[in-house]
């Protein structure tokens, strides 16, 4: 591992890569503050730039920097405007916004920055320990296990979608898989579902889909509902960035607990930063005693530090399945996976063996990125907050334009733009009906790999017998089925019990 760290240090400390981290963090923070633009949209917009760089390590470092920056920026708009740009920072606004209303905006932002830094750094240490171990196990996997593992990942994403949402998330996953079958498959060399259109021969572009699913609907919602994100702060006057020693002492145990808990929640596919931050907030509120508990929701230091630590640790945790198994656990890591494939890097257990410099450079750059966020952004916060004053009449056309450009630059094909608009309208309607869109994108990205591994196992075993002959595959598929059915079984048991109680009265 020490050898790996040295390789990573060497790669990450090149001038180009340092510039990438700094640029990524700044761009991420800058755009992440805009209400309605979450890390997924920003990373999707940045992909053409990253792919244009050509060097996979530098590109991934840039995107990872954008990712941290965006999450930090999202917390800033949660605290200052009560307008969280991302679901993962909703819990931040519970205590951050009341603090800002009390005139302690600067202190709240500092606490958020310190908590994010600690969560991200501890998460990166855990990643360094766990990722190599997991990838050694993953090397034993064959295509049958990969197929089962991907099914498990997809069902976990659906299962963790929340009560009453499991079927919707499953439906979106299947739609994503269906979209992935358009075009020529690697194994068959035969165009499928292209409807005779030459432009669909190579399939739907991943960047186009990512833009259409996230950036375009967000911009459309800003148009449809001007009140969303129109909540203007008091011109971004921020003073006094310090917090007291006593408050620091209160934060330390919270940060310790939440960075570990957040990391492990982040490792689970589908759970991610949102669940980690809400759970972190709930756990800390239950652990707090008396007065401290009453303060939650009214500007508690612990209540602000808990979700901030947890969501950053979870973001780092979500890199574990991406880097070791090549399976993204969240929408954001799915977009990163797509970018990696575009750069001709296949994440998975072989990543550490074939291109250790990429793997370790990314991990080392996480430390640098967290540090950059702390030193560079903190003094800049008052100035960055000014971006919130850009009039929306100019802002929205620019967001739309960058979305269109992102899809156009990679392909140089105007048909791609029409596909983007069509899919974007579809995504907006789906969002209206409360369908989750991240499963669609994850399904789309895993679709090709899923089918390849499925077909390869079918060919090797001349049929479906691989399910029975390989116990690991059977076990993984069994867990997948259980995960999907569990929420409705639990709901049924709870309802029966409730009925039993009612009958007994």
């Amino acid at each position: 591992m020490i050898e790996g760290i040295l390789i990573g240090l060497q790669a990450a400390f090149s001038i180009q890569n340092l510039a990438m981290v700094i640029a990524g963090c700044l761009i991420g923070t800058f755009i992440g503050m805009l209400p309605g633009l979450g890390p997924m949209s920003i990373i999707a917009i940045m992909i053409p730039v990253a792919v244009g760089i050509g060097d996979p390590a530098a590109a991934l470092i840039l995107l990872a920097g954008v990712y941290y920056g965006a999450i930090f920026g999202g917390s800033t708009s949660s605290i200052l405007l009560n307008a969280p740009g991302v679901a993962g920072t909703v819990a931040t606004s519970f205590d951050g916004y009341p603090m800002a209303r009390k005139g302690q905006a600067g202190k709240a932002l500092t606490i958020a920055a310190v908590a994010s830094f600690a969560g991200g750094t501890i998460g990166a240490i855990l990643l360094m320990v766990f990722a190599p171990a997991l990838s050694t196990v993953a090397l034993l996997f064959h295509s049958a296990e990969y197929f089962a593992l991907m099914i498990l990942g997809l069902s976990a994403i659906a299962a963790f979608a929340g009560t009453g949402q499991v079927a919707k998330a499953l439906m979106m996953t299947i739609l994503g898989l269906i979209l992935a079958t358009v075009g020529e498959g690697a194994l068959f060399n035969m165009p499928r579902f292209t409807m005779g259109l030459m432009d669909l021969q190579s399939g739907i572009s991943f960047i186009t889909l990512a833009m259409a699913m996230f950036a375009l609907p967000e911009a459309m919602f800003l148009v449809l509902m001007p009140s969303r994100g129109a909540a203007q702060g008091d011109g971004g006057k921020i003073e006094n960035l310090r917090f007291s020693r006593e408050e620091g002492r209160k934060m330390i145990p919270v940060i310790g607990r939440q960075s570990v808990q957040g990391f492990f929640i982040g490792v689970l596919p589908g759970a991610g930063a949102t669940i980690a931050s809400f759970l972190g907030y709930a756990v800390e509120r239950n652990l707090a005693k008396g007065d401290e508990q009453a303060e939650f929701g009214k500007g508690s230091v612990k209540g602000l530090a808990a979700p901030e630590t947890a969501n950053n640790a979870a973001c780092t945790g979500s890199f574990v399945p991406l880097l070791t198994l090549g399976i993204p656990g969240s929408g954001t890591t799915a977009i990163l996976l797509g970018a990696l494939i575009a750069l001709n890097v296949t994440p998975g257990p072989r990543l550490m063996i074939d291109t250790p410099e990429i793997f370790w450079a990314v991990i080392i750059s996480m430390f640098i990125g967290n540090l950059v966020l702390l030193i560079l952004n903190l003094p800049l916060i008052p100035y960055i907050a000014k971006i919130l004053a850009i009039p929306r009449n100019y802002l929205i056309p620019f967001i739309l334009f960058f979305t269109l450009m992102g899809a156009y630059i990679g392909q140089n094909n105007a048909t791609e733009l029409l596909i983007l608009v069509g899919l974007g309208v579809m995504a907006t309607i789906l969002r209206f009906a409360d369908y989750p869109l991240a499963p669609l994108l994850i399904g789309f990205i895993l679709g090709t790999m899923l089918e390849d591994n499925f077909s390869r196992s079918m060919q090797l075993y001349r049929g479906l017998s691989f399910v029975i002959e390989r116990p690991m595959t059977l076990a993984l598929l069994g867990i997948a089925v259980l995960l999907v059915l569990l929420p409705s079984i639990r709901a049924r048991i709870a309802r029966n019990r409730a009925q039993g109680v009612a009958d007994g009265d």
Partner: protein, 165 residues
């Protein structure tokens, strides 16, 4: 019936059409040597069509929410459909139309002119009326993006209309 269940119904219809293509039309083109394979190009789409239709039906019939013990289509969406008329649908559809026009004009008119016009009319649709500022902002932005993409990233974007090369 709520919007989410209508969408599920449309999805079921889509899966039927997709499944029809997979089950009945795709295999006709398959060369004989590939027919001896255990997997065909249509195998995976067949599985997807059937499972997609099943999941779509579960939502359309409200089975999951009934199992969870609450009224079907009790969606917790942040967007209220009954307020649909209060949303600025006109502006949104005008912007979508503008994006389509932009896509069609990008090649023939060239990057600089089409982008400037897109940003100008985009702001105009949203209610901005300071014409000169809009034009200057649009032109400056389109030139700087073009410079960045063409000169820094080295990706070709045709700047001028077709008759200028």
């Amino acid at each position: 019936m709520a919007l989410d269940r209508w969408i599920a119904l449309i999805f079921v219809a889509f899966c039927c059409a997709y499944g029809y293509a997979a089950f009945f039309t795709m295999d006709q083109l398959l060369p004989p040597f590939m027919q001896r394979n255990p997997v065909w190009p249509s195998t995976f789409p067949k599985v997807l069509a059937v499972s997609g239709a099943l999941v779509g039906l579960i939502i359309a019939l409200g089975l999951e929410s009934r199992a969870a013990g609450r009224a079907p289509s009790n969606s917790s969406s942040e967007f209220d459909l009954s307020k649909l008329m209060e949303y600025k649908i006109g502006q949104a559809s005008a912007l979508i139309g503008l994006m389509i026009v932009f896509a069609l004009m990008l090649r023939p008119v060239g990057f600089l002119a089409s982008t400037t016009l897109f940003l100008f009319f985009g702001a105009a649709i949203l209610g901005e009326r300071r014409w000169l500022i809009m034009l200057v902002v649009g032109a400056a932005a389109s030139f700087s993006v073009w410079y960045l993409v063409e000169e820094v990233l080295g990706i070709f974007l045709r700047p001028w209309p077709f008759f200028l090369g």
